[in-house]
């Protein structure tokens, strides 16, 4: 009985081993695996730091200003992203604004680091402009990749999730030093923007 159980376990282990030892190429990028345009869009945000870092910065900024600001950013940013994306899909021509990513990071990071009171329309306006520009850029790129509206919806969902998580985290922080940590993160984002600005001026990527 005991031998039988051991043999069956060995058989399971051997079968598992044989499957695991002989994998096909693990081409994990969604272009290869073909999870579909929605998931391609969803993952796009997490694979594109040019989009992800500004979204996080805006989440931190709106979270620092409070739950009301966070709620506005939560809906305005993904909506603007979708509108901009649809516009880009139609135009199918990428914007040539090489300094935009650096300036976005620099501005948003500096605002987070400064932690000054900003009116709601200003923060919402930043979310609107950010969403329109980045959405347009994504839409134009997705038109060329044939991902279409479904891909844009995927990106919109990812943006919504990131803003919800980021802003909610910051709003929930009650310890004084945690707010300072968020401001330090803002200064890092601004520093990244400044370096990227120099890099862009030099003609790098």
């Amino acid at each position: 009985m005991k031998w039988g159980r051991t043999l069956s376990r060995l058989a399971v282990a051997a079968a598992t081993l044989s499957v695991w030892l002989l994998p096909a190429d693990a081409s994990a990028h969604l272009v290869n695996t073909g999870f579909g345009p929605f998931y391609d869009g969803l993952y796009h945000l997490f694979l594109t730091p040019e989009d992800l870092v500004p979204v996080l910065a805006l989440a931190l900024l709106s979270g620092l200003r409070g739950a009301r600001f966070g709620r506005w950013a939560l809906f305005v940013l993904p909506a603007a992203w979708l509108v901009g994306g649809l516009w880009g899909l139609q135009q199918q021509a990428e914007l040539s604004l090489p300094y935009l990513p650096a300036m976005t990071l620099l501005t948003l990071g500096a605002l987070v680091a400064a932690d000054r009171p900003l009116p709601l329309p200003v923060v919402t306006g930043i979310a609107l402009v950010l969403g329109l520009f980045h959405g347009y850029s994504n839409g134009a790129a997705m038109a060329q990749a044939n991902l279409g509206v479904t891909g844009l919806v995927g990106i919109g969902c990812a943006v919504f999730t990131m803003v919800a998580l980021g802003a909610a985290l910051v709003v929930s922080l009650k310890i004084p030093w945690a707010r300072i940590a968020i401001r330090v993160a803002g200064s890092w984002i601004a520093a990244i923007g400044m370096l990227l600005l120099g890099w862009t001026f030099r003609g790098g990527s």
Partner: protein, 196 residues
């Protein structure tokens, strides 16, 4: 026995993969890692950045976070100047002086006004940033490099702050002051090399 066998089998499986082409796009991973490793590639930079955290910890709030915020931001400005190709005279001397001055401040447990401490740290950060900016390797993802670079700098400051927590104890205070002497001596060695 079964469990040991299973562990061996799992270890064999993990150690025996074939290709895993998981999102490593051209140059991007290299950009992040080279950015992350660049600030720790030279002892002169490491000494200065840890010293900023140490001095901040000695000074206490709000300097403990103002100085580590000032340094990366002004360093990024210096890096931008370096990337733009603007020359800055005496960069290596400035870097060596940063270790000498910061080490001396730690040794003396100097408590200048906050703005003076921030200006001192910011001034030296320009030299460090400029040196990094002119040394940036071409052909990598600028954004990922910058992220790695700033994160590494911040972590070095955090290391300094963590060591600086020794300041709570009298023996720790002495140890920090001794560390200040070592940093100053290191700075003098770098200055000697820069002048040679």
């Amino acid at each position: 026995m079964d469990r040991r066998l299973l562990i061996v089998l799992v270890a064999a499986m993990v150690a025996w993969p074939r290709l895993a082409l998981a999102h490593v796009l051209g140059g991007e991973a290299a950009g992040f890692w080279s950015g992350l490793s660049h600030p720790v590639s030279g002892l002169d930079h490491v000494l200065a950045m840890i010293s900023v955290g140490l001095w901040g910890a000695q000074l206490g709030a709000p300097a403990v976070w103002v100085l580590p915020v000032t340094f990366p931001m002004v360093m990024a400005l210096g890096g931008m100047l370096g990337l733009l190709g603007l020359s800055l005279p005496g960069v290596e001397i400035g870097i060596a002086l940063s270790a000498i001055v910061l080490g001396f401040m730690i040794f003396r447990e100097a408590h200048p006004p906050l703005w003076v401490a921030a200006v001192v740290v910011g001034l030296f950060a320009i030299f460090h940033g400029h040196a990094h900016g002119t040394e940036l390797p071409a052909g990598q993802s600028g954004l990922l490099y910058s992220i790695g670079f700033v994160v590494a700098t911040g972590l070095l400051h955090a290391t300094g702050i963590a060591i600086g927590l020794l300041h709570r104890w009298s023996a720790g205070k002495l140890a920090l002051r001794a560390t200040g002497v070592l940093v100053t001596l290191g700075g003098l060695a770098f200055l000697w090399r820069a002048m040679a």
